[in-house]
């Protein structure tokens, strides 16, 4: 071990998997969270963000992988022994207790160090005691004040508004002084105005208390506003770990770009270093290191696309205005350039049909590897000119005998989507449809959880059931070596410096310490209450009864 700690990690997830009925809800999640950080897990519903949070809280046990807290392995530690507290999505305030007793719930169970004694064997033993009534009262009132609910202690939780219940839930978690506060979409049930206020309040609390916040949301704006670090997830996989600025400006892939903020995503080709072609034009860019003529995705944020006069010398390409909509502080202009649709934000409106010039700084062109170039599946030949794809036999052209392990490759263009589920050979659910300027890229999840990418002319509705057909001659079949094993890659945390990254990789190899369970000491504390506690009980009883009225 090094003496200096370059990274003060509080929580570390190592290759965590969570599988439900054979389906991965969380796949190979590795993540480090620094002490005091505000980390947001962001993604659409069903992306595994809540499952990840629940694993940190202890409500779910990972199928494999480790969760490390302060250097100690807490993977299998039950939730009540973990030094974390959760603010639940629907608050989960106890309906049988008033506001005061809801907040005091955790304190009444907690034990605090209370000096040491030397036992018979001559060892020094740490003693614990419970909080006294007066201490509980003082703490609860302090946290009621923190969340601006000073006079609400006696109120019934069901008589509070959504925002007030939210505050009680936050106070109930914070009063235990957890090292990490977990928040599961806590603002989801509030209206817009209230949500904005609570965002600011949460950020303020985070700053004042200095504890680590792990926040789960599907609202990208919330994530960008509040976080130090955003973890973008999809299908249980971490897509990108970076600061809000970086996630916005340099999304790791088309999914992140589409999910975070508005953007135009176009397919292009990287001709050589610093030269990219899309919209039938070669643009200068600042990216390099791609293979020559590699197909890539280009991402353009609408505020980066500048509209110029068509004769201006700055204009790189010309485009026709399709629509111009006033959005309060800007106009959203949709343009068509060489059959590619682009979006721009401008302070001025334009006439529909007008021809304009477009300019974009090389720096503002974000170029990304395509997440996938082809649909690839490992499967077997099931008969003469038959190959199994997602549980059904597809006709294909091959001379390989039955039972040969093969890899099937299908171009995105060749996946045919049928409106009627029964018209396809297999059925699938549309999980996303991203506009790529001149076509839509749909992602279709089949019933055995393979995701097909398909390029189509139509925008398919998310959640729709569709059929999939593939022409026999479009199925490319390669013989596969069964022993070949694909290495799972870990997404790099972009908020860390190279040095920190190296350190994290080093400690990832180390075995964490066992988490010491203090259950027995807790039992002892219950048996031997403080003398002072007894004395105070009498008059405190009266006080708390008043409180409870």
């Amino acid at each position: 071990m090094k003496n200096i700690t370059p990274v003060d990690n509080i929580i570390e997830l190592r290759n965590v998997y969570k599988t439900y009925d054979g389906k991965d809800a969380v796949k190979n999640a590795s993540l480090t969270i620094k002490r005091g950080e505000f980390v947001t897990l962001l993604g659409p519903s069903g992306c595994g963000k809540t499952t990840t949070l629940r694993m940190i809280a202890g409500f779910e046990l990972p199928t494999s992988g480790k969760i490390i807290f302060n250097g100690k392995d807490i993977t299998n530690v039950p939730p009540h022994l973990r030094p974390v507290n959760t603010v639940f999505q629907k608050y989960a305030l106890f309906p049988h207790l008033n506001v005061f007793n809801n907040i005091a719930f955790g304190l009444k169970l907690k034990v605090v160090p209370n000096g040491t004694k030397v036992n018979k064997k001559g060892e020094t033993v740490q003693l614990f005691r419970k909080y006294t009534k007066a201490e509980i009262k003082e703490k609860v009132n302090r946290f009621l004040k923190l969340v601006d609910l000073e006079d609400y202690g006696h109120r019934n939780v069901s008589s509070l508004s959504g925002g007030q219940q939210q505050r009680v839930a936050i106070a109930r978690a914070l009063v235990n002084e957890p090292e990490v506060l977990l928040l599961d979409e806590p603002l989801g049930a509030l209206d817009l105005k209230m949500r904005k206020d609570m965002q600011l309040e949460l950020m303020d609390m985070h700053k004042r208390l200095g504890i680590t916040f792990i926040y789960v949301t599907h609202d990208q704006e919330e994530a960008l506003t509040m976080s130090d670090k955003i973890v973008v997830m999809r299908y249980g996989e971490i897509q990108q770990i970076a600061s809000p600025e970086k996630v916005y400006d340099e999304p790791a892939n088309a999914f992140v770009a589409d999910f975070i903020g508005e953007s135009t995503i176009l397919s292009g080709v990287m001709l050589e270093d610093y030269k990219v072609e899309f919209c039938d034009h070669v643009f200068e860019c600042v990216d390099k290191g791609f293979k020559p003529n590699e197909p890539i995705d280009v991402i353009i944020r609408p505020e980066d696309l500048k509209i110029k006069d068509k004769n201006s010398k700055d204009a790189l390409i010309t485009a026709e205005v399709i629509s111009s909509v006033f959005k309060g502080d800007h106009y959203q202009v949709t343009l068509m350039a060489n059959e590619n649709e682009l979006m721009a934000h401008d302070t001025e409106g334009y006439e529909v049909g007008e021809t304009v010039g477009l300019y974009i700084k090389p720096f503002d062109l974000h170029i990304m590897h395509k997440t996938r170039l082809m649909n690839e599946l490992d499967t077997v030949i099931t008969g003469e000119n038959l190959v199994e794809i997602c549980g059904a036999d597809f006709e294909c052209k091959t001379d390989l005998p039955e039972g040969t392990p093969v890899r099937v490759v299908i171009d995105f263009d060749d996946v045919e989507i049928t409106d009627d589920e029964d018209d396809g050979i297999i059925s699938a659910t549309v999980v996303s449809s991203i506009y790529k300027g001149s076509y839509y890229q749909a992602i279709l999840s089949t019933d055995d959880h393979y995701n097909f990418f398909a390029d189509t002319d139509y925008d398919w509705f998310k959640g729709d059931r569709v059929g999939i057909k593939i022409a026999p001659d479009k199925i490319i079949i390669e013989k596969r070596d069964e022993t070949e094993h694909q290495e799972e890659k870990v997404v790099i945390d972009e908020t860390l410096t190279a040095e920190e990254q190296a350190y994290i990789e080093e400690i990832r190899e180390q075995e964490p310490e066992e988490f010491d369970v203090v259950e027995e000491i807790l039992e002892e504390a219950k048996e031997a209450p403080l003398l002072a506690d007894e004395e105070e009980k009498a008059d405190d009883q009266e006080q708390s009864e008043k409180e409870g009225e």
């Binding site: 939730p79 507290n85 639940f88 629907k90 309906p95 049988h96 955790g106 235990n176």
Partner: protein, 266 residues
């Protein structure tokens, strides 16, 4: 009066309650009034308070009443002790509903047949019929009434409450004592009401399962009417009614004190 005229009978919601109101009048209100009237009449239909004197001065009658209350309380306690764990475990299991159904299944058999069968089994086993067998029969008969409301309440408790309690440092036992138990109060109260009230008024079970050795209040009411002592029988019915009302009031008071799940099940 000239102003009286028949309103057109319109099909409003109220109309649908008319059959039930008629039924109530005929079979509940009128019998109750008859009991009340009978209580103050002697065998020659003269107004008298003699019936009250007969009932309240008879030591035997009061012992029977005391016994009935005791049997009711013991039966209810046993039903709760057996029923709560069953309902709790079933609410945690995915197949819980089926198991609850198995508990309710014996109710599909007529209770007299069930009780006679129980008696036959006891005799075959050589068990002496007495208080023990009566209690067994009572618990056996009324257990489903305890399990059903408890299961409904327990399975409707949101899982997030126990998660929140665990999160705040409660171990399994504390989670149960501090969240599940208080949140199921309404079910407990419904269950107690459903068991206690019928058990104090029950008859036949005690007679059959004790060979007539144990005589409960329900049995003595039946006997009074059989012997033509309508006055005393009516007094007994009124006393029983008073106990049912009192226990109902106590239960309601409990239910409003525990502001747990506000809606009552029954």
């Amino acid at each position: 009066m000239a102003k009286i005229k028949f309103k057109k009978l319109r099909l409003t919601k109220k109309v649908f309650s008319i059959p039930y109101i008629l039924f109530l009048l005929l079979f509940v209100v009128i019998p109750l009034v008859l009991i009340l009237v009978n209580a103050f009449l002697d065998s020659d239909n003269n107004l008298t308070l003699e019936n009250f004197k007969v009932f309240f001065t008879s030591r035997a009658n009061l012992i029977v009443l005391g016994n009935s209350l005791l049997v009711g309380i013991i039966t209810t306690a046993f039903c709760l002790l057996i029923g709560y764990p069953v309902a709790y475990i079933c609410s945690k299991m995915s197949s819980g509903k089926i198991i609850v159904l198995l508990y309710i299944l014996p109710m599909f058999v007529n209770f007299l047949i069930r009780t006679l069968a129980t008696k036959a089994i006891f005799i075959a086993m050589g068990v002496e019929l007495g208080m023990g067998t009566v209690l067994f029969g009572m618990v056996y008969n009324y257990l489903p009434f305890m399990i059903l409301p408890l299961h409904t309440t327990l399975s409707s408790i949101d899982k997030s409450y126990s998660e929140a309690a665990q999160d705040l440092g409660a171990n399994k036992a504390t989670v149960f004592l501090k969240t599940t138990l208080p949140l199921s109060t309404s079910g407990i109260i419904s269950g107690i009401t459903m068991v206690f009230i019928p058990t104090i008024s029950t008859y036949a079970i005690s007679q059959l399962l004790s060979n007539g050795k144990i005589f409960l209040f329900g049995d003595s009411i039946q006997l009074s009417f059989e012997q033509g002592l309508y006055g005393v029988g009516s007094i007994m019915s009124l006393v029983m009614l008073a106990f049912v009302l009192i226990s109902n009031l106590i239960m309601n008071a409990f239910n409003s004190n525990s502001n747990a799940v506000r809606r009552s099940l029954w």
